[in-house]
Structure formats: C-alpha cells, structure tokens
C-alpha cells in the first residue's frame, strides 16, 4: 500500500455553468437530488483509503464549506484523517490569473507538510467512480513521473468539448494534452485526474509559477510530457464531465436510468453526502410519478416523469414535471407545466403556468425566484 493524500482541484476556465455558478462553487452543485458534485471525488478518496484531503476553492466558498463541514460524513477518520478547505490568498479580479497553480503555490506550505509520498489530484466537475489506491499502485509500479487518468469516448465530436484530450503513443505515453476541438469521434478524454510523487508535484507547481502566471497544471504537464515519463491510465464505467449548463443537465438526466446509475453507484463503493434529516417523501392520491429519481422530504401531488426531484420539494396538484432537474426546496404550483428545465433551489413556480423549453436547450429558473 502506497501512502497518498488527495487534492480536489479548483475548477479552471474550461468550466462555466450558466446560472448555477452565480451562486456557488462547482463542487457545491446539487446532483441527483441529494448529492453535491464534491461528494464524488471526496467519497472516491475516502473509499480508496485516502483520508487526508485538501479541497481548493476559487470563489463562492459558503455553500461548499457548509456542505463539507468537518468531513465526518465522508467516513474520514476524525483523528488520523483531515479535510482541509483552502482558499487562494491573492485572488485577483482577473480570472485568468486565478489558476489552479496559483492556488497550490500560495498554499505550498500546506502541501509540503503532508507526510504522504504520493498525491492524487482530482477535479470536482467530473463524475466517476475510481479506486485511487489502484491508480497510485499502477503509477508507482510503472515508474512513470506523472500519470493521468483518461476515458475513451466515441462522441468527442459533440460532447466533452471543453475537456482536454490526451494524445497517447502505443505504450500509453502522453505525447500532448490538447483542448478537444470536436474534430473526431474517438478520443481519449483527460479526466483531469493526476497521480505523482508529492516532490514531483511541488517541483511542477514551482516550475509553472516561474514560467507564467497564467499557467495551469495541465499546461505544465503538457510541457514536460516530451522530456518526462507521463503516462495515461484508462478508466472504465460511468463518466460525465460537467463543463457547462447542458452537460450538467445531461449528466443528471442520464442517471435516471437505473442501469446507468448502477455503473456509478454500488454498495461496496458508497457515495457519501451530508444528511439533512428530511423525513420520507409523501406521494398523495393524485400523484403520478414514473421513471424518476426523488429525494426525501417532498410532498408530491402532481405528475413527474423522467425528472430529478431534490430534497423537500413540493409538486402541487395538477402540476406536470417532465425531463427536468428540480433542486431542493422548489415548489411547482398547481397546474404548472414544467418541461426541460433546471429549477434552482427554493424557486417557486406559481403564476406562470407554462415553462417549456426545447430539449436541446433546457431552461433555467434562478435560485429563490418566484415566477
């Protein structure tokens, strides 16, 4: 067993989710009703035996720090383990300068003092299940300097457009890391998940910082891939990347299918989250709910189909919710028809009776809005 600590990266400029991101960091996004995106990397780490975890936040820390708390709900040992939330000290108004390297560099003391030999770096905007202890083992035994997890897809021409591609040679050596331009179907998408020795990581952060104040971890790893041994490690199973509004919506909807969900969730790999102590959900006489994922604490009197309902929502009589993602505490009023929408937290849809968007461009209702 190799010792490793975990880092959850701040999200880069390739990620912007319209609407939702006005209110919270990407890691704090609600997902599948009861989860937040941060639950996935942190649970992966916890399940992999990594219980010293640093979460870096770039902006809007409130929701995320409230959700992470002491980290006890992630099954992290409260004495030996540690969940740190780190914020860059010298954040500027120019987002170009607020890179992941900048976050790491300003907190380099915190990284140096970690006693573990290896570090696993994962993003908050990608959803997958991965045993990092296997990743570290594979990396350590390969003798590589840096390893990057990747996922082979056959729809890179239309999806994963804000992600990076690993160009690999036959020995899975990384030749370059380039943005996905959507030019071909079959590509190896970088999972933005790295493993290396802590000393190597510190060297790369320092080198990147010296080279350019706009450099990211991807940039420096891309630079060194021609001189160092950088390798790709393939991943199989469910994989989603939330880089914009549409991919957020699509990832939620995709997991309504129970078979798909089973690729991501399994009893031996629990995804932990913070409990809200909501009571069970009540379905009334007029409820008609099918092919949906529902959280606790809801009162449902209307129809719901192919949708995700967050905690403590009310779906009133005659309301119809279709192909939509409803976040916690929202109210869908009597006879309101909602289709292809993301309804943010505590929004109340009461007076406007028809909110239907085109399936290719789902709509968004702001947090706490009354419509």
């Amino acid at each position: 067993m190799y010792s490793a600590f975990g880092i959850v990266k701040p999200t880069g400029r390739n990620v912007w989710v319209d609407g939702l991101e006005d209110y919270r960091a990407v890691g704090a996004f609600s997902f599948m009703g009861r989860y937040r995106l941060i639950d996935f990397p942190v649970s992966n780490m916890s399940n992999s035996g990594i219980d010293c975890i640093q979460v870096y936040i770039k902006r809007k820390p409130l929701s995320l720090t409230a959700h992470l708390g002491s980290g006890r709900h992630y099954n992290i040992n409260s004495k030996r383990g540690d969940l740190q939330v780190l914020f860059p000290e010298n954040r500027t108004e120019h987002d170009l300068y607020n890179t992941d390297i900048d976050s790491f560099f300003t907190n380099i003391e915190k990284i140096i003092e970690m006693p573990q030999e290896y570090v696993v770096i994962a993003p908050a905007y990608m959803i997958y299940k991965m045993d990092y202890s296997e990743l570290v083992k594979q990396h350590a035994e390969s003798g590589a300097d840096v390893s990057i997890a990747y996922h082979s897809v056959d729809n890179a021409n239309e999806s994963f457009l804000n992600c990076n591609i690993l160009n690999l040679n036959k020995q899975k050596g990384v030749e370059s890391i380039v943005p996905n331009q959507g030019t071909a179907k079959n590509k190896n998408i970088s999972m933005d998940t790295y493993v290396m020795k802590k000393t190597m990581f510190i060297d790369l952060v320092n080198a990147a910082h010296k080279l350019s104040s706009m450099y990211t971890l991807r940039d420096i790893v891309n630079d060194v891939s021609c001189t160092m041994d950088v390798r790709g490690i393939p991943h199989r199973g469910f994989f989603a990347s939330i880089t914009d509004f549409k991919s957020y919506y699509d990832a939620n909807i995709a997991l309504i299918n129970f078979k798909t969900a089973r690729e991501l969730f399994s009893t031996d790999w629990p995804i932990y989250t913070k409990t809200n102590d909501s009571c069970p959900t009540q379905y009334f006489q007029d409820a008609d709910v099918k092919l949906s994922v529902v959280s606790n604490g809801c009162l449902i009197e209307g129809s719901v189909e192919n949708s995700i309902i967050g905690r403590g929502c009310e779906i009133k009589k005659g309301a119809v919710v279709k192909n939509s993602v409803i976040l916690a505490g929202a109210v869908i009023g009597e006879d309101v028809h909602v289709e292809n929408q993301v309804v943010d937290k505590r929004a109340k849809l009461i007076h406007v009776k028809e909110l239907v968007s085109d399936p290719s461009e789902p709509g968004y209702i702001k947090r706490g809005d009354t419509i």
Binding site: A261, Y283, F284, G312
Partner: protein, 379 residues
C-alpha cells in the same frame, strides 16, 4: 452550555412481546417506524429539541443493537461537550451484585449514582417506545410554575378506551387527586403517558425507600406515584395535545404507520421546526422505474419501485419489482418484493424476500398479517 437543569432517563428495556417476531432480536424501542426511523428516535429527538443535554437510556432485553444505536449521540446532536447519550444496562457494582432491572422504578434506583454525578434539579422519566413530539421544556415550565413535586403528562383518550390506561383524576387546578391503573369504571379520560418530571431530591428519597420495600413491584405507576399521593405531595397533570401512540401490537404498529398517510396527521414529520433525527444511512435517492405507480405512499431513500404501491409505507432499501403490487402494507427495511408478487394488508419484517408472483395477505383479513419469513415464489 450551562449545567443541566433537567436530565432525561429513557426506559428502553422492554421486549414488546406482542410484536412477536419483530422483537426476537431487538428490543421494542429499536423497532423501525415511519420509513426511516426507529421508535426511540422520537424521545431522543424530543430531548435534543427540548434542550436536554444528558440522556440516560436504560436497556435490558436484547440490548446489543439498541446499545450501539443510541450510543452514537451525534445522530441527535447530543454530542456537544457536557452532553451525551449514556447506555445504562444493569451492571455489577462494588457494593451490589448484578441484578436485572426489576421494574421501571428499580431501573432508575440502580442508576442513582449516575444521576447524582450530574446533580440535576429535575429528572425526566420517559418511555423508549412511544411515538410523539413533545417539548419537555414547556412541561418543565408548567411543573415549576405550579410548584409541583412531580408532573405527569396526560392525554385525553376516548372514554370507552380509558380502562386500558392508567387514569389520572384531577381537580380544577390540574392537581392529581387520584390515580387508577386500568380502572373498570374510569372517572376521567386523562391517561398517563408514562412521562414524568420529578424533583430529583424527592425522587431519590422515594426510590431508596422503594428499594427496601419487599412488597413493592418497583414500578412508577404502581408504587412511586401512589406513594407520593399517600404523602399528599403536589402532583400536577400536564395536558398534552397532539399525536401520541404506544405501539404494542402488530396491528397498532401497522396503524401508526398508516397514520402518516393522512394529509392532516398530527405527527407531521414534514415540520422542519421539530425534526426527528435518526441514523444517517448511505443510500441512493428513491428510484422509480417506468412502471411505477404510487398513490398514498410514504417512501424513503434507498427504495426502488417499478410496481404498483397503494396506501403503504416502505422503509429504507426496499425493492418492489416490475408488476408487483403492494397494497395497505408496511414493508420494513430491506424487504424485497420480486416481480409480479402481491402483498395486501401485511407487515413484512426486516429483510424478508417475497418471491416472484407470490401472494401474501388478504384484503378482508381481520388482523394484519405479519410476514417474518421468506415467501417462495416461482423459480
């Protein structure tokens, strides 16, 4: 926080033998209720919400699960400094042999040293097997304003059922003048809820003399309360209005679950101002398949349903297969109903599997059927 003005002791040692197979391996307070709770979550959450910091739980019958369950005081927020849930099974002491708890009062008597260590002004005695929401701080305020030696919570019950309860006869000020255990001809309809506030110094004295009395059954209702009345102490009746249920039988446990389906039910678990806390189980949200059809259902996380469910309460991790039917039933945690099976008017015990196309229970049964063993279906 300041020193405890009132400490709570929850009596949780009973088996609840009329719950048959449900309490073979767990005590009654640990029986599941309402989709995600155990019955003892109610008094524990009430304590936490009422600002009581220290709770002793007296366990005896099949206490392994109950002991570990309540010891995690964090679930109810009872884990601040100077706060905690203490599991108190009978124990051997330097000056006394290991004795089982001989009655409700004896259970407290054997833990006088525990209570003394907190030196509370008042002690609240609770049952671990009642379902209700109550603010004990309000009860304490009334106890103090009446200058009572002891206060007993009472609830109005229908006159014709009064003979099943311990009945309090009061004067116009609320002072208890007479206590009758299960009277044949009740004079009032104020039933004791088994919830008592005592001044600790007085109760301590009463318990010590009760311990020495060879004729005592060491019971609060039968011995301590009558003794206090005989000494003409001021006993006050605190009138409680709201939902309260003592689930002694399979039928009443089923009924208490069904009560949750009534949109106007007084227990109102959706009320966020008085949450009931419980174990945090890691599960998926509720998954409803393309063939799901739910009418009048209480459903919790970790359930997957692709059949028809009507007028039923389903607990954590239950699965209802395609084309299965669950009607007027209660499915305890982890129950699996395979494709095409039908369950009517039944209470299915924890983890029981109902096989493919099997039929259990019937719509016109007098009593609710308890299914505690696997039912074979088509292979």
């Amino acid at each position: 926080m300041k020193q405890n003005e009132m400490l709570a002791m929850i009596l949780a040692g009973g088996r609840g033998s009329r719950l048959h197979d449900l309490t073979n391996k767990v005590a009654k307070p640990a029986v599941s209720y309402g989709g995600k709770y155990r019955i003892i979550d109610f008094p524990l959450s009430n304590c936490a919400n009422s600002g009581i910091d220290v709770v002793g739980v007296l366990t005896q019958y099949e206490s392994v699960l109950l002991n570990s369950y309540v010891a995690a005081g964090r679930r109810w927020g009872l884990d601040a400094k100077d706060s905690g849930v203490y599991v108190l099974p009978p124990r051997e002491k330097a000056d006394a042999n290991l004795n089982v708890y001989r009655g409700t009062a004896d259970a407290i008597s054997q833990n006088i040293d525990f209570i003394d260590s907190y030196a509370p002004e008042h002690v609240l005695i609770l049952s671990g097997d009642h379902i209700y929401k109550m603010n004990y701080a309000k009860m304490l305020a009334e106890h103090n304003s009446h200058g009572a030696a002891a206060t007993i919570a009472v609830i109005e019950v229908p006159k014709k059922e009064a003979s099943r309860f311990g009945i309090m006869n009061t004067d116009e000020t609320g002072r208890i003048v007479e206590f009758e255990e299960k009277p044949e001809h009740p004079k009032s309809n104020l039933a004791s809820m088994g919830i008592y506030i005592f001044n600790w110094k007085l109760l301590r004295k009463m318990l010590i003399s009760d311990m020495k009395d060879p004729d005592s059954s060491h019971d609060f209702g039968k011995d301590i309360i009558p003794a206090l009345l005989a000494e003409e102490k001021l006993l006050h009746a605190y009138k409680f209005k709201g939902y309260w249920k003592d689930v002694g039988t399979i039928d009443s446990l089923w009924e208490a679950n069904m009560d949750l389906l009534d949109p106007n039910n007084e227990l109102d678990l959706h009320d966020n101002r008085w949450k009931i806390y419980t174990e945090d189980v890691t599960t998926l949200p509720q998954y409803l398949g393309p063939n799901a059809n739910l009418k009048q259902v209480f459903l919790t996380q970790g359930c997957t349903v692709d059949g028809e469910v009507k007028n039923s309460v389903l607990f954590t991790g239950t699965k209802v297969g395609t084309g299965a039917k669950v009607i007027d039933s209660v499915l305890m945690p982890g129950v699996i109903v395979e494709d095409g099976a039908t369950i009517t008017r039944a209470l299915v015990a924890d983890g029981v599997k109902i096989g493919k196309n099997a039929v259990v229970g019937s719509a016109d049964s007098v009593e609710i059927e308890l299914i505690a063993k696997k039912v074979k279906g088509d292979e």
